[in-house]
């Protein structure tokens, strides 16, 4: 164990070909013990960010520092403390499940056999089965178990639950929570399934077209991003606006405004200035995600 920040990105930029900027100067610090959900639409740069963080892609500019080392040149010790589940899973298809685990275990100084056995049993993966004909869901389970077995300090998962059915996803979340309950271990995972993220993550990083548009606590995000239904005494002017506004629709006396509230005082000011009645609607992470995307 070291005291280094598990993952630090400084102005991380990745350009593919000439003109496709996949990541645009992303700076992000993932603190020890946190569970960070990486959210973004397709092609927003999530997988590129993750691949730079685990040393599979070389940044065009900026730095990715993983477990205190440059991600592009991690040594064997750092690699043994890092767990990674790729989005596209490639395993030695000619092996049997048990062989795959024996083979992989040989690369790591630590290996939790009990955990492997328990997860294979819970997830109904027969150890004597050949890898090749396994379903995408089962392959994803294997990749997750492989990434957990050496008890990594930093676990990075790229869309880990995409192919899992709801029951398997619950078991996967339980396994992640088990990791999360150890304050020395850190998790970064990308996902489309915002309800999973809401359960296990304490931080959210939001990527929009290669840029980091939010980085902070999940509760803070949910406590500050609201949809306001405002009804005023007199019609709103067409250029009616609120600080921190994300999206707005104005029609006569009524306005529907999604907003990132900088302070609760804003509501009082609004009430006073427009003699308005305000209904504050709480938003799910999915709604927040959509509001921030379209802002």
């Amino acid at each position: 164990m070291t005291d280094a920040t598990p993952l630090q990105l400084d102005q991380l930029t990745k350009r593919f070909d000439r003109d496709r900027l996949a990541l645009n100067a992303v700076s992000l610090t993932i603190p020890t013990g946190s569970v960070t959900g990486l959210l973004g639409r397709n092609a927003s740069g999530k997988s590129t960010l993750i691949q730079c963080a685990v040393g599979l892609l070389k940044p065009t500019a900026g730095h990715a520092t993983t477990l205190g080392q440059s991600a592009w040149s991690l040594d064997a010790d750092a690699k043994s403390r890092l767990g990674y589940v790729p989005q596209t899973i490639q395993l030695h298809s000619w092996m049997r499940v048990r062989q795959l685990f024996d083979y992989t275990a040989a690369f790591y100084p630590r290996w939790n056999d009990t955990l492997v056995r328990d997860l294979l049993r819970d997830w109904d993966v027969p150890p004597d089965r050949k890898i090749k004909p396994l379903s995408p869901g089962t392959l994803q389970k294997l990749a997750i178990i492989l990434a957990l077995a050496h008890e990594p300090e930093l676990l990075i998962l790229d869309e880990p639950a995409a192919a899992l059915d709801p029951a398997a996803r619950r078991q996967f979340l339980a396994a992640l929570l088990d990791v999360a309950s150890d304050s020395r271990r850190t998790i970064l995972f990308s996902t489309h399934i915002t309800s999973d993220l809401e359960r296990v993550a304490d931080r959210v990083a939001l990527l929009t077209a290669g840029r980091l548009t939010f980085d902070g606590g999940l509760d803070e995000l949910k406590d500050t991003v609201k949809r306001l239904h405002v009804t005023a005494q007199s019609p709103f002017s067409p250029d009616f606006d609120i600080p921190g506004r994300l999206r707005r629709q104005v029609a006569g006396h009524e306005a529907l405004v999604s907003v990132r509230l900088a302070s609760p005082d804003l509501l009082e000011t609004l009430q006073r200035d427009h003699a308005a009645r305000i209904h504050v609607e709480d938003l799910s992470l999915e709604d927040i995600f959509l509001e921030m995307q379209d802002a």
């Binding site: 569970v35 619950r170 979340l173 339980a174 929570l177 088990d178 999360a180 309950s181 915002t194 309800s195 809401e198 359960r199 296990v200 993550a201 304490d202 999940l218 509760d219 949910k222 406590d223 009645r277 209904h279 609607e281 709480d282 938003l283 799910s284 992470l285 999915e286 709604d287």
Partner: protein, 131 residues
Amino acid sequence: MAPVLFLQVSPASGVPIYRQLQDQIRSQIAGGRLAPGEFLPSVRQLAQRLAVNPMTISKAYSLLERDGLVELIRGQGMRVNAPTPSANGKARRQVLLPLLQQVAATARQLSLSPEEVFALLEPLLKESKHD
């Protein structure tokens, strides 16, 4: 022994999970379903049962502690405090307040006068007294 708390979380609701837990535990204490001296489940137990991040549970617990509803007993966990009568009344009113706010908002939308709302509410309150 930690009592079985009938806690539910709904991650997709707009309310942060720590607040969902805080509200439910507060109303269970106010309603007497969690008696003074009882212990809340450990953070780890509850995190596993509800499949949510342990830090979320810790946050809910520490906010309840800040409000004086529970107290951390070293090595044993979070113990429900005996409520002071005034605090208890306040807590119970706090549970009811969001529901009444909804009633008030809907009444305004329907253009019902306060008198009309009171007239509707009063028999309901008296009715429930009998059960």
